[in-house]
């Protein structure tokens, strides 16, 4: 079962220079919310920013991670 800390580590490792805050919304290890700030998002649309994060998790989204709510920002 994934933890908030694990998601944060994976995001920050995969997106250089990013800072992620991850919350486990239900405490059940399957519904998460992440706020991510990354210079790498500069110039990307919201869709592209979110895809960049979803790509970190691949098939885990919809698998062990049932839901990952995202708020992304460049800067």
């Amino acid at each position: 079962m994934p933890t908030s800390e694990e998601l944060k580590t994976r995001i920050e490792a995969a997106i250089p220079g990013s800072h992620a805050e991850v919350e486990d919304l239900t405490g059940g290890g399957d519904h998460f919310r992440a706020r991510i700030v990354a210079q790498a998002f500069a110039g990307l649309s919201r869709i592209e920013q979110h895809r960049r994060v979803y790509d970190v998790f691949g098939a885990d989204i919809g698998g062990p991670i049932h839901a990952l709510s995202l708020q992304t920002r460049a800067e």
């Binding site: 919201r46 869709i47 979110h50 979803y54 989204i61 919809g62 839901a67 995202l70 708020q71």
Partner: protein, 137 residues
């Protein structure tokens, strides 16, 4: 057998692509606008209804291939997914952000109704949708 199932997946994909092409605003969701089966889908329905934007809705739950092929087409892993004029606008998070910033009305080409709330909570608005087609069911 392999060929047959490949053909079936192809037809599912074509049906999804036609639905996206033929409906200016189309929401792929879990459940129906009257009976959403997921809070994220419910919130997207409530958001579109708050803007009084007509939309087509497709329930992806009856056939797992719908979700699989939709995600393959859109390169987007989660449900709901909103398409406007053939383009993926986003899932629940992006739709909510765009609504709260006022951009969603522009994307949809509608005027924000004066009574539209600043934020849409899941399940807040359960009024009947204006227009629904579910051509994939």
């Amino acid at each position: 057998m392999t060929d047959l199932s490949a053909n079936q997946d192809q037809s599912v994909r074509q049906a999804i692509e036609s639905a996206i092409a033929e409906n200016a605003v189309i929401l792929f969701m879990k459940g129906t606008p009257d009976d959403p089966k997921c809070g994220f889908s419910a919130r997207c329905v409530a958001t579109l209804q708050a803007l009084e934007s007509p939309f087509a809705a497709v329930d992806i739950l009856p056939d797992p291939r719908l979700r699989q092929e939709l995600s393959a087409i859109s390169n987007w892993p989660t449900i709901p997914q909103l398409f406007v004029r053939g383009e993926l606008i986003g899932g629940c998070d992006i739709i909510t952000e765009l609504y709260e910033s006022g951009e969603l009305a522009e994307v949809l080409g509608v005027q924000t109704p004066p009574e539209a709330p600043a934020k849409v909570a899941p399940g807040l608005d359960t009024a009947a949708p204006i227009e629904i087609t579910n051509r994939l069911s």
